[in-house]
């Protein structure tokens, strides 16, 4: 089972339909079960059942999750593969000692891969859908795998199976989610 975490300001908000459901559809198409839970309701019970976790994005104006980073402290001790999308990457960055700065990208942007990784290998550069007003900086425990002209686009934790992507792979780059889920199942993402 893949655990999808909704980072929107309220459980059951309109943002769920836009940012969680499309990811669930991709996971289902891969033949996996998906369970979604709001970020304030994540418990060991959910995490213990999951093979991997995806932290989903939020509407542009929705940054409430950044005021509640305690709700993401489980990231420090988990051994599960985790993929954070946009807001999810910002949460990961904050938990692992990075900082957040204003940075607006809305629309298609060129992303250039600069690191070696089983998900992004041989990707070179690709066009991706961006929808963010913030970006990650001053990363400590996270390695940069890809960038755009404006900000860091992909990170991976140096000691855990945790990824963050600033773009929205559910819109034009479903392969990112497909490879993450597939490699998680095969234990193909090494620590």
């Amino acid at each position: 089972m893949i655990l999808l975490i909704d980072l929107c300001f309220r459980n059951g908000s309109l943002g769920f339909d836009e940012f969680v459901r499309p990811v669930a559809r991709i996971v289902h198409h891969l033949g996996n079960d998906a369970i979604s839970v709001h970020f304030r309701s994540v418990t060991d019970h959910f995490l213990s059942q999951a093979e991997a976790v995806i932290l989903c994005g939020t509407p542009l104006a929705d940054t409430a999750f950044l005021a509640e980073t305690g709700a993401f402290s489980w990231l420090k001790k988990t051994r599960l593969p985790v993929l954070g999308i946009c807001a999810g990457m910002e949460a990961i960055c904050t938990i692992f000692g990075g900082t957040i700065r204003p940075c607006i990208e809305i629309g298609m942007t060129e992303v250039t891969v600069i690191g070696n990784d089983p998900i992004f290998q041989e990707s070179g550069s690709f066009s991706a859908y961006e929808l963010h007003t913030l970006a990650c900086n001053n990363l400590r425990d996270l390695e940069v795998l890809a960038v755009s002209n404006q900000c860091i686009q992909v990170v991976r934790h140096q000691g855990k199976k945790i990824y963050g992507v600033m773009f929205h792979p559910e819109v034009r780059n479903e392969w990112v989610i497909e490879r993450f889920v597939t490699l998680s199942g095969e234990e193909g993402i090494s620590q």
Binding site: G12, S13, L14, G15, D17, E18, R21, P22, R25, P59, L60, A61, D62, I104, I106, G107, M108, Y129, L131, T133, E170, V171, R172
Partner: protein, 226 residues
Amino acid sequence: MRLGVLCSGGKDSLFACMMAMEKEEVVCLIALTPRNEESYMFHTPNVSLVSLQAEAAELPLVEMPTAGMEEKELEDLRAALVCAREKHQIEGVVTGAILSVYQAVRIQRICCALGLWCFNPLWHTDQDAYLDTLIKKGFRVIISGVFAEPFDEKWLGIPLDHASVALLNEYRERYGITLSGEGGEYETFVLDAPFFRKRIEIMEASSEYHNYRGFYRITRARLVGK
């Protein structure tokens, strides 16, 4: 949250409106009425009848005329959202965008600049399930325009029901259309929705069709009880 729904009169914007009503407070509809039938951003046939839909839903309408020229439309959209914020204190905007990055990006940028939330509740939805739900929920939708092969003039004015959706599915397989018409292959007009207090009855309409391109123009319509 007080929301305005960007409404073209078609199924996607009014279905998104229903979704928004289930979770937030919809306080107005917002319509741009293009004079250009090739409008880049906004669905064109019968958009002037959105006022009848607003009346049926008992919602105020913020209406803004637009010349329908590519970038000028965006200024008109911005003006419409500013007007909706002043008149109805909207905090956010809802659209019926499903797949169009072109459309979604432009609206997101304007909302961002104005400090408004932007919601696209149908974004990347499962189109088969969406059309099935639309019909089961009791939306009454007609085809108001066709703009691609292999649509013939018999499509103009027919209801979007299980039979027509089955045919659209065949067209998807054979001609690669998007099932929901998001690629601009066809346009729709909503005559009734679950949240309408009255439904729209067409009293007079005409069709115009040439070479896989046609419009169903409603020239007289009225509201009747449900």
